[in-house]
C-alpha cells in the first residue's frame, strides 16, 4: 500500500464531513495539515464498526454450522 493513497482517502472523508482539518506550524517549523475526527465522523465510525461486527458475527455463525 502506497503511503500517498492516504491523501485521496483523507480528502474524501473531509468532503463527507467525517474529519476536519486545519493548517498548523509543527515544532520543526514546518506547515502541516492536521486532521481531526468530527462528531459526525465518530458516529459514522460507530455505524461502520457495528455493521462490520454484524457481518463478522454472521460469517462466524455460518462457519460454525458448516
Amino acid at each position: 500500500m502506497e503511503e500517498g493513497s492516504l491523501y485521496p482517502a483523507l480528502h474524501r472523508m473531509e468532503q463527507d464531513g467525517w474529519v476536519s482539518s486545519k493548517w498548523e506550524l509543527t515544532d520543526k517549523g514546518r506547515k502541516a495539515k492536521v486532521y481531526a475526527i468530527t462528531a459526525h465522523g465518530k458516529q459514522q465510525l460507530a455505524d461502520e464498526q457495528q455493521s462490520w461486527d454484524r457481518l463478522t458475527s454472521g460469517v462466524k455463525r455460518v462457519l460454525r454450522y458448516s
Binding site: E2, E3, G4, S5, Y7, P8, H11, R12, E14, Q15, G17, K28, R30, K31, A32, K33
Partner: protein, 915 residues
C-alpha cells in the same frame, strides 16, 4: 466540504494544487527525517520517501478529484478550449455569430408579435376568469352596428346585467374616437365608453385620483373622464395636478378624475385607449341629445364578465342560453317585421374565453404572423445547414488530431462534448445578440403595421414566453448545426483517418451528407422564394386592380357642422329635427359644395355618404320590377350628389348621372352598377326598370326607378369581388345629418387646396370641423398587411436564396479541391475546358435538381397555408413556382460555374506534382 466548495474549487485549481504540494511536501519531509533518524543517508532517505509515497502526480490527481466537481471542471476546460478555437478563427466566428443572431433575432421578433397579439393575457386581475359574452352564430339582429366589437344594444346589456348569475361582475364597453379639438381640424383621442362596473370588475385601480364606479354611470351622468397613463404623459406631460383639469370631447367638457396604471391599455390588443367616460355620457355627446342608450336596434356595446368561483366557460354558456329567451323578449325591437321578430326571439347568448382580450389586429395579423414565423424558422434552418457544413469542413481538417486522441484513449463522449462546446458558445452569442435585435425588429414591424390614423399599440415587453422561445430556438439551433458534425467527427475510425495521413479527405459517404444538406437548403429556399413571389404578386394584383374609379388626385373632405351654430339654427329650440332643419342642411351642403368648387385647382366636387373602401357599408334586401324586397337578394347602397361619377372617373354606361332635377319632391331614382344589372336583370340594360328596398314593419317598401348604369367599383375593400350597388341621390335623402363627405378632384398639389378649403369653410361659421384624406393613400393603407407580407417574405426569400447559394458554392468548391488530382489527370490525358466544367456542373445540376424537385412538392403544400392571404392567384400558382425555380436555378448555376471554371483553368502540372 459541501458541494459548492467543490464547484468553487473548479475555479481556484492553482491554489488547490499549491495546497496539495504543501501537504505532500510535508509528508515527504517527515518521512525523510524519520528515515534519516533510522540511519539512512539523507539522499537515499529522500528517494525512499518518494518511493513509499507512490507516483506523486497520480496521488495528487486523485486527491484533486476528491476536491473538485469533475464534470464542471471538464466543462470549464471545454469552454476555455472552445473560446480559444473561436478566437483563432475570428472570421468564421463573426460570420457564424452574425448569421445566428439574424436568424434567431428574426424568429424571436416575429414570436414577440405573436406573443403580444395572441398569447399574452390582459394586464388585469386574474385575466383567466374573464369571458366575452357574445351572440351565437346566425343570430338575428338587424339594425345599426357601431365599433369593431359592438354586439349588444343598451337594453340588452341592461337585461343581461340584471338576469345573469354566472359572473361576479359584468362589464360593458364601447370603443370610439373622441374629438378633442373645438372646430377646425379634428384631434382624435382613442376613447372608451365604459359601464360603472368596468374598472372594478377588471380589478384595475387608479394610480392617481379614482376610476369610474357605478355611481358615475347613471341618468344624471355628472361624471368625468379616466385617462390612460400614456395619454396622461402625452397630453398633460405627466402633470401631478391633472385631477380636475378639463378635457373637451366633441365640445363637451369632462373633468379628469383619475389615471390608470401604465400596464393597462384597455380591452383591445393592438389599440391603446386614451380616455374612458361612462356609457351614460353617450347622450351628452349625441347630436340629437338622446344617443344610443334608448335604441333597441343599435348594437354598440361589447360585454365581458368575470366568472364566479367554480364556474366554467361551458357552465356560463349554458346559463346564458337559459336566460336568453327572457332577455330577447324584454328587448324585442318594435319595428321588426314578424319573421324578423321570430328570429330575434330565438337568439342565444354564449360565453367565450377572453383572458387575452379582443383584437381586430389579431384577426387580421394572426395568420400572417404564424406564416412569417414559419418563414423565419426556415431561414434559420438554412443558415443552420450552412453552419453545419462549415463545421463539417473544419472537423474534416481536424480528423487526424481526433483520430490520434481516440487512439490514445480519449472517450468519444468527451470528444463530442469538446466539439459541441464551440457550437454552444456560438449559439449563446447568437441568441444574446439575436434577442437584442428582436427588440428592434419587432418595434419596426409594429411601425409598419401602423398608419397615421391607426397607431398600433402592442405590449412588446419581453416576458417568460419570449425568453423561453429564444432559449429554445438557440438550443435547437445549436443541436442542429453542432451535434451532427461533432458526433460524426468523434465516431470516425481512428485507423482509417490515420492511414489517410497528410491528405485530409473524408469518405464518399461522409461527403454525401454535406451534399444532402445543400439539396435541403435549395428545397427550403425554393419554398421561401415561392412564398415571396406569391405575396409580391398578390400585392401587385391588388395595386393594379382596377377599383372602378380613379383614386389618384381625389381628396376626401369630411365636414361636421353639428357643433356649430350654423346647425343649431337649423334645429328648433327644442333640438328636435324638423323638415325645416333638413331643408336648411340641404342648403348648407350646397353652399359647402359651391365654396369647395370655387377653390383654384379644384376640377370638380361631389358629395357622397360613404367613400369607397372606407370600411363603412349599408345594405338591405332588394326586389326588382314589383317583386317584394323581403324575398329578394342583398344589395349595397350609397348616396351621392350629381357629378359624383364624373369626379371619381367612373364611366356611366347607360342612362344618366343624377342632376338637380332629382329633388326631394321628384320621383325616387337610383343608379346601379353592372353587377346589380347582372344579379337582378341577367345582364340586360336595367335603365327604366324599378326596384324595391325592404322596409321595417308596417311601412311600405320604397320603389326606385333606375335612371343610370355605371361601371363596377369596389365597395368594402379592394380584395372583394364586385358587388351589386345601387346609388341614391343625396338630394332625396329624407333625413340629412349635420355631417357631410365630399370628394374633390384636384389638379394641383393638395396642400394649398386644403388650406383654401379650411378658410372657405371656416368663413361659414365657427366650430365647423373639417378633415382631409387623400383617397389614394387610404387605398394604400388598406393594403398594409399585403405590403408587410410582400416586403418581409421577399426579404426572407432573398436571404434564404443567398444562404443556400453560399452553401452550394462551398460544397462545389470543396468537391473541386478534392478532385484536383483527378482533374489534373483528365486534363493531362486531353480533356478540354468544356469537359471539366461539365464534370463539375453535372454535380451541381444533380444537387439543384434534387433540391428543386423536393422544394417544388413542399411549395405546393405550403401554398395552401397562405391561400386566404392571396389575391388574384391560386395557392399553387404556376407562374410563381416557375419564376422561383428559374431564379434559384439561374443563380445556383452561376454559383457553381465559378469554382468549375477555376478547376478547368488550373494548371494540370501543379495538381499532379502535389501527389
Amino acid at each position: 466540504m459541501p458541494w459548492y466548495q467543490r464547484w468553487r474549487n473548479v475555479f481556484r485549481s492553482e491554489k488547490l494544487n499549491a495546497e496539495f504540494d504543501q501537504e505532500f511536501q510535508y509528508h515527504l519531509a517527515e518521512t525523510t527525517d524519520r528515515l534519516v533518524a533510522e540511519g539512512l543517508p539523507r539522499e537515499e532517505a529522500l528517494t525512499e520517501a518518494r518511493l513509499r509515497l507512490g507516483n506523486y502526480s497520480i496521488q495528487k490527481e486523485s486527491t484533486r478529484d476528491m476536491n473538485i466537481a469533475a464534470w464542471l471542471d471538464s466543462t470549464r476546460a471545454d469552454i476555455a478550449y472552445g473560446l480559444r478555437q473561436l478566437r483563432l478563427n475570428p472570421g468564421f466566428t463573426a460570420i457564424a455569430v452574425l448569421s445566428l443572431a439574424l436568424g434567431i433575432g428574426a424568429n424571436a421578433a416575429i414570436f414577440q408579435l405573436v406573443n403580444a397579439i395572441r398569447l399574452k393575457t390582459l394586464p388585469v386581475q386574474n385575466p383567466q376568469e374573464l369571458v366575452l359574452i357574445d351572440f351565437e352564430d346566425g343570430s338575428v339582429r338587424h339594425g345599426s352596428g357601431w365599433g369593431p366589437h359592438g354586439i349588444a344594444s343598451y337594453p340588452q346589456w341592461d337585461q343581461i346585467r340584471t338576469h345573469q348569475q354566472a359572473f361576479s361582475d359584468v362589464m360593458a364597453w364601447h370603443q370610439e374616437q373622441f374629438n378633442l379639438a373645438l372646430g377646425g381640424e379634428p384631434h382624435y383621442a382613442r376613447g372608451l365608453y365604459v359601464s360603472g362596473s368596468f374598472f372594478r370588475g377588471l380589478g384595475v385601480s387608479a394610480i392617481l385620483g379614482r376610476t369610474l364606479s357605478a355611481r358615475d354611470d347613471n341618468d344624471a351622468c355628472s361624471a368625468g373622464a379616466v385617462i390612460s397613463y400614456a395619454f396622461w404623459q402625452r397630453q398633460f406631460l405627466g402633470d401631478a395636478g391633472v385631477i380636475g383639469r378639463k378635457l373637451t370631447l366633441y365640445g363637451y367638457p369632462f373633468p379628469v378624475i383619475g389615471v390608470t396604471p401604465p400596464s393597462f391599455f384597455g380591452m383591445e390588443v393592438g389599440n391603446q385607449y386614451d380616455v374612458a367616460i361612462p356609457i351614460c355620457a353617450d347622450r351628452l355627446l349625441a347630436v340629437d341629445g338622446k344617443g344610443r342608450i334608448p335604441l333597441s336596434t343599435g348594437f354598440w356595446l361589447a360585454i365581458i364578465g368575470r366568472l364566479k368561483p367554480e364556474w366554467t366557460v361551458a357552465r356560463a354558456t349554458a346559463h346564458l342560453r337559459t336566460i336568453s329567451p327572457e332577455i330577447m323578449r324584454a328587448t324585442l325591437p318594435t319595428r321588426y317585421r314578424p319573421e324578423e321578430a321570430k328570429g330575434y326571439l330565438a337568439n342565444k347568448l354564449k360565453a367565450t374565453e377572453a383572458g387575452s382580450g379582443v383584437s381586430g389586429l389579431r384577426t387580421e395579423y394572426e395568420r400572417p404572423l404564424w406564416l412569417l414565423l414559419a418563414t423565419t424558422g426556415l431561414v434559420l434552418l438554412i443558415s443552420c445547414a450552412n453552419l453545419a457544413n462549415l463545421l463539417l469542413a473544419r472537423a474534416a481538417v481536424r480528423e487526424p488530431e481526433i483520430a490520434m486522441r481516440l487512439a490514445i484513449g480519449a472517450s468519444r463522449w468527451r470528444l463530442v462534448r469538446q466539439l459541441l462546446a464551440g457550437s454552444v458558445l456560438l449559439a449563446t452569442a447568437g441568441a444574446v445578440l439575436g434577442a437584442g435585435l428582436a427588440l428592434i425588429i419587432s418595434r419596426s414591424l409594429v411601425l409598419l403595421m401602423s398608419t397615421p390614423n391607426n397607431q398600433v399599440f402592442v405590449d412588446l415587453d419581453p416576458d417568460w414566453r419570449m425568453l423561453a422561445f429564444t432559449a429554445g430556438v438557440a438550443t435547437l439551433t445549436c443541436l442542429l448545426f453542432g451535434l451532427l458534425p461533432a458526433v460524426r467527427a468523434a465516431y470516425l475510425s481512428p485507423v482509417s483517418a490515420m492511414r489517410a495521413g497528410v491528405r485530409v479527405t473524408s469518405g464518399r459517404e461522409r461527403f454525401s451528407f454535406r451534399r444532402g444538406l445543400v439539396a435541403t437548403q435549395i428545397a427550403m429556399s425554393l419554398v421561401l422564394l415561392f412564398g415571396a413571389f406569391l405575396f409580391v404578386r398578390t400585392l401587385n394584383n391588388l395595386v393594379t386592380e382596377d377599383p372602378g374609379f380613379k383614386a389618384e388626385g381625389i381628396l376626401t373632405v369630411y365636414i361636421d357642422f353639428g357643433k356649430s351654430p350654423v346647425d343649431y339654427v337649423a334645429r328648433d329650440a327644442s333640438t328636435i329635427e324638423t323638415q325645416r332643419s333638413y331643408d336648411k342642411r340641404r342648403a348648407i351642403y350646397h353652399e359647402i359644395s359651391d365654396r369647395l368648387s370655387a377653390i383654384p385647382g379644384v376640377a370638380s366636387v361631389a358629395q357622397v355618404d360613404m367613400t369607397p373602401v372606407s370600411g363603412n357599408g349599408w345594405d338591405n334586401l332588394v326586389g326588382v320590377d314589383g317583386a317584394a324586397a323581403v324575398n329578394g337578394k342583398d344589395c349595397n347602397f350609397d348616396e351621392l350628389s350629381p357629378g359624383y361619377f364624373k369626379t371619381m372617373g367612373t364611366t356611366v354606361l347607360a342612362g344618366r348621372e343624377f342632376n338637380d332635377r332629382d329633388t326631394f319632391s321628384a320621383p325616387k331614382v337610383a343608379i346601379v352598377n353592372e353587377t346589380f344589372a347582372r344579379t337582378f336583370f341577367g345582364g340586360a340594360n336595367p335603365v327604366g326598370h324599378t326596384f324595391r328596398v325592404s322596409a321595417e314593419a308596417g311601412k311600405a317598401e320604397p320603389v326606385y326607378q333606375i335612371v343610370g348604369l355605371v361601371r363596377n367599383s369596389k365597395y368594402h375593400d379592394l380584395r372583394e369581388d364586385f358587388q351589386p350597388i345601387a346609388f341614391f341621390p343625396k338630394t332625396q335623402d329624407e333625413t340629412p345629418g349635420p355631417g357631410a363627405t365630399f370628394v374633390v378632384r384636384v389638379t394641383v398639389s393638395p396642400g394649398p387646396v386644403m388650406n383654401a378649403a379650411k378658410n372657405a369653410i371656416q368663413e361659414m361659421g365657427p366650430a365647423i370641423e373639417i378633415e382631409f384624406h387623400a383617397l389614394s393613400l387610404q387605398l394604400q393603407n388598406s393594403l398594409l398587411r399585403e405590403k408587410l407580407m410582400a416586403t418581409l417574405s421577399g426579404g426572407f426569400g432573398f436571404l434564404a436564396a443567398v444562404l443556400a447559394l453560399l452553401g452550394l458554392y462551398g460544397v462545389i468548391s470543396y468537391t473541386v479541391a478534392q478532385r484536383r488530382n483527378e482533374i489534373g489527370v483528365r486534363v493531362a490525358l486531353g480533356a478540354n475546358r468544356a469537359n471539366i466544367v461539365g464534370l463539375v456542373m453535372r454535380e451541381a445540376c444533380l444537387l439543384l435538381g434534387v433540391g428543386l424537385a423536393a422544394g417544388g412538392g413542399l411549395s405546393l403544400w405550403a401554398g395552401t397555408a397562405a391561400a386566404t392571404l392571396l389575391f388574384g392567384l391560386k395557392p399553387h400558382d404556376v407562374v410563381s413556382l416557375t419564376a422561383a425555380a428559374a431564379l434559384l436555378a439561374l443563380i445556383a448555376l452561376l454559383a457553381s460555374y465559378l469554382p468549375a471554371r477555376g478547376a478547368a483553368g488550373a494548371d494540370p502540372m501543379s495538381a499532379l506534382r502535389s501527389e
